[in-house]
Symmetry: C2
Subunit: 425 residues, 2 copies
């Protein structure tokens, strides 16, 4: 098949007409498939439940340090859980705070702290003039929602396969009103990119004009490999240490996609200074997160070797799903010159970049056919994809059969939208 | 025994000398007893664990509405948990949001929301001039810590057996910069007072100058009776409705002292308007709290009848502890004219009001004898008890034997401190 842009107007009209016929067929099927969010499937959750069999059966809720996890106290978590995340992320356990079931909540709260009380001895962000935040785009909609909620004006910086555009980033951080950025450095949401060693080093050595600049290093998918080989991500704290920059970074992770999406455990990793500041807020905010659940996790996943085994089992469920979508994209879009995507080696998403100006229309068509995607535009601040080109695909929840159908519908929609765009419709 | 104030100087000196001898005896025993916090005892937690036997054994994590509690979603909680709190507090379940393991966190967050984003369509509290908050004193130290953290200047209003001083409250709320108050309306912390029907009605019909005035109705001990009879507390929302004042009230409760102190479930109850505003923040902040734990609670406590049975079992453990302390106070302080206390019918605390200017010294003596009390002064904002007279006793954690000893030490310390005060030492 020729690239669409090389078709004559007549060829294109005929192509469009064929595709629209197909789409009408899909619409008449009254389907209902949801690819909107990175939700684990019931099979994955069943597997986690099996992993917790002994944990759920335990009658001993005393931690190895003798802490009664059923009671109040021990604000920053039990030793077992600190050690688990310390091993996962190769950081000292003294720099780990264990949270509840949502790292998102911890991130929201850290931004809230910076906004209201300030960080690093500086004025609260909300008391400073026009505080801004960098949005690595395309990115995770919930990060942008937090930034928007607190009124931090976002500045887009694009992300490529090796990470954010470092030239642009280097320019943007010269402005002292730019206070930080969110990033997903491994298997990024939505594209599945992993920041190269060079990028991580370049980020680690940044000298932002704002002393209270903070990078939210959302390592949501650090151990979420689809294949036996992992993509290497440098340790941000080790890199930052070389430049005396540890205070600029706050790392977050969780077991939401290791154990239970709604009932895992989460963590904050930060420098001594930042940990002390975060704890000074926590001691007003909460007595402790759920330590019984922390202990259950320690029983189910005594160490990283156990976690890696679990991730292999998860990958075995996820791989065919990603494969189905990727084959469908290849079949439906390859060679047409109207879409690009990255074959992710981990994480929960595929970022499909379609012809400029055509993503929204494709999204609308999918909706008509009963296929729910993440809202088109959501990978950008203020739901505003300036080029109207990014579609996020979340293959984890539907069945392989549904994904096959969904990808047929999606690629048909993308073809139609591109043809219409080329025809000026 | 005569009241101390009626003793001659010589009698008082001799009294003091005897008491100090006793205290030195206690000090030489090298004891270590902690009465600082309202922590349930291991026996209470063991009982809760028994209550959860079936819940922990469950293999079905699907809620009655078909929600997979293991997965993301259902931000405001599962129906079972909403219904549980709705029944407990006699409110419609549509006005309930179910939270995580800490109602404290929910309160912190609500204050944070008001401070940063405002409530009821008004300017954020932190953007208004000198926002203030009412502190019902003596009160709960963690409430004051939240208020202080956000920089809301506190104005003390005293609480009596029937509730806050309504005359003073009526005056204070005429100032539009006064934004609200925390209160524990039943079995108050630390005194164990329950607001009378008249007080609740008077609070319900208040017309504060600030449209964004909010009362944090922390109903922490609503079902925490020590005896078969409960003290009646009117329903704040029913009362407020009569005056069109529902928006002024936000109620909080939890199962922290029903099931597990560190791993219960909590709730917010509020008017339609407030619920909508709170949800608009929540949807940015968290995907949901731990719904698996919500479902476990629904299995362990299918309804309020089950919860009441559980509270009777808890009371059977707590009653002898309260009795021991109250008998000790009676034995050690009655008739001396140097202390007052209320015999609480529920809750977790006894508030001991000693001779003006003597509480700190008594606290220091206790510390020397290895008895840890809640920091003297903590029942007041900024740790500043203006009369230096309130000591909070938390009888729940130590054994009856330890409590007997602890109360002997405490009353001795109170007698010494009073005698020294009278002697002008």
């Amino acid at each position: 098949m020729k690239e669409l842009k090389n078709l004559s107007k007549q060829e294109l009209e005929s192509f469009l007409s064929e595709e629209e016929k197909k789409m009408n067929g899909y619409i008449s099927e009254n389907l209902s498939i949801n690819m909107a969010r990175g939700k684990p499937s019931p099979e994955q959750l069943d597997m986690s439940q099996k992993l917790f069999e002994n944990a759920f059966k335990t009658t001993n809720y005393i931690s190895r340090e003798g802490i009664d996890t059923r009671n109040y106290g021990n604000m920053d978590g039990i030793d077992e859980s600190k050690e688990f995340f310390a091993e996962m992320l190769s950081v000292p356990k003294e720099n780990v705070i264990v949270g509840g079931n949502a790292s998102l909540e911890l991130m929201f709260d850290f931004i809230s702290q910076c906004c209201v009380k300030g960080i690093g001895g500086c004025e609260p962000w909300l008391k400073q003039k026009d505080p801004k935040f960098i949005a690595i785009v395309p990115g995770y909609d919930r990060h942008f929602a937090i930034t928007e909620y607190f009124g931090l004006k976002m500045i887009n910086v694009p992300v490529y396969e090796s990470g954010p555009d470092m030239d642009m980033l280097g320019e943007v951080i010269k402005d002292p009103s730019v206070k930080g950025m969110f990033c997903v450095p491994k298997y990024s949401n939505p594209d599945g990119f992993t920041y190269s060693d060079e990028t991580v080093e370049a980020i680690a050595k940044m000298k932002p004009a704002a002393k209270d600049f903070r990078v939210i290093w959302d390592n949501a998918y650090y151990i979420h490999d689809l294949y036996d080989e992992t993509e290497h991500l440098s340790n941000i704290f080790e890199e930052a240490k070389k430049y005396g920059n540890e205070d600029y970074f706050i790392e977050f992770a969780s077991t939401s996609k290791v154990t239970f999406a709604g009932a895992g455990i989460s963590c904050i990793v930060a420098s001594d200074n930042n940990i002390a500041e975060i704890k000074s807020r926590m001691k007003v905010q909460i007595i402790s997160y759920d330590k019984m659940n922390q202990l259950r996790h320690a029983i189910a996943l005594p160490d990283m070797a156990a976690a890696r085994e679990q991730m292999k089992r998860e990958a075995a469920i996820l791989r065919p799903k990603f494969k189905t979508v990727l084959e469908g994209l290849d079949k439906g879009l390859n060679g047409l010159g109207i879409a690009k995507w990255h074959d992710p080696k981990g994480g929960y998403f595929i970022g499909l970049r379609v012809m400029t100006g055509s993503a929204s229309y494709a999204g609308e068509l999918c909706k008509k056919a009963g296929l729910t995607l993440t809202k088109v535009g959501a990978a950008f601040p203020y739901n505003n994809d300036p080029d109207d080109m990014e579609i996020r695909i979340a293959p984890s929840y539907p069945s392989v059969e549904d994904l096959k159908k969904a990808t047929e519908i999606l690629t048909t929609a993308v073809r139609i939208a591109a043809a219409r765009e080329l025809l000026g419709k």
